[in-house]
Subunit: 204 residues, 2 copies
């Protein structure tokens, strides 16, 4: 159960929406480039504010571990983990299914690249008794989040919810996950976009 939204959260959410409008670039109908601040160049001050806001949302959930996926989820997860005073584990992408007794693995389909990746986490770093928050910079079809959920399920840990910076609402992954009962906190939800306009979901 997440904490109640405070007025602070809306300020932070607006901060990210403003930044997306100012610095994001829409290419075609599906690609939103935010690599000037979120996933190539990293605006550390912004990520810190986003992390603080994620903490406010989940602060009453006894989170003791944040699980993300390499590479672009790492910065966002680390800046947030400071507020929870907890460790981060990032799932590694493997080229092929490298099954081993020592790791949990899951398949993640990439709609962008049209291929499948196997992601893996060492069993020592995810355990029954952990209370896990999943984080990623982007949520589109939800495949990465589903892969991370599968790792958590294998470990027997408790999944508290997910936090993402930018959800592409029009691709449906976030709403499907919510319908299935997952708490998904997205800091900006793009419901419609074109090269001339980005429309955010109000009252998230």
């Amino acid at each position: 159960m997440a904490g109640t939204a405070s007025s602070c959260q809306f300020v932070y959410m607006e901060l990210l929406e403003r930044r997306i409008k100012q610095s994001g670039t829409v290419i075609g109908t599906n690609i939103l480039k935010v690599d000037s601040f979120l996933n190539h160049q990293l605006d550390i001050a912004l990520l810190c504010e986003l992390g603080r806001d994620v903490y406010h949302h989940y602060q009453n959930c006894a989170v003791n571990k944040i699980l993300t996926i390499e590479a672009s989820g790492i910065a966002y997860a680390c800046m947030t983990a400071q507020f929870f005073d907890c460790n981060v584990v990032f799932a590694k992408k493997k080229g092929a299914a490298n099954q081993s007794a020592d790791v949990y693995t899951a398949n993640v389909h990439s709609f962008t690249h049209g291929n499948d990746n196997v992601i893996a986490v060492d069993r020592r770093y995810l355990k029954a008794g952990d209370r896990v928050l999943i984080m990623d910079d982007f949520l589109a079809h939800g495949e990465a989040i589903r892969g991370l959920m599968a790792l958590v399920a294998q470990s027997g840990a408790t999944l508290v919810g997910a936090a993402v910076a930018v959800e592409k609402g029009f691709q449906g992954g976030g709403d499907s996950l919510r319908q299935e009962g997952l708490e998904v906190y997205s800091q900006a939800i793009v419901d419609k976009m074109s090269e001339s306009e980005i429309v955010f979901r109000p009252n998230k």
Copy 2:
């Protein structure tokens, strides 16, 4: 020119050395696994202390950008960037040479995997006028650092130096770079290791 070493630095360096002795695992003669705190599970509190120490070392160098490489350099770079109040840029690994007018690229040979990777940074995020600190979690033969140096050189930015958490001194990369004039600040230098013993370089 780096700041003068303070007594604090020795405390931080000992902190990392102790952690390596306590939680690191040596496999064969070349592999030092520290994935319980540095590059799979991330001990955020430790990384924060390491970042503070890197800041103390380079605080008088007017660093305005930290350049690292995906994936395991990102956490270390981000935690450090908070002290410098600057952005991070991480070079992306590409499977093949994907030359483009928009990116700087360099080849990085991996002795571990026996292959070459092309790394790339968007030209918009590294510019003449920037004062760049290169960071990475590990320094062995120095190939990744050399690749990042090549990107900085192409951009016309000023390279201030490099900071790494763990240098495998016996593989020679760090000392070669120092002989060529690069300021390399390593927070722990392993001069000798076996499954029963890890020997650190004194008086770094």
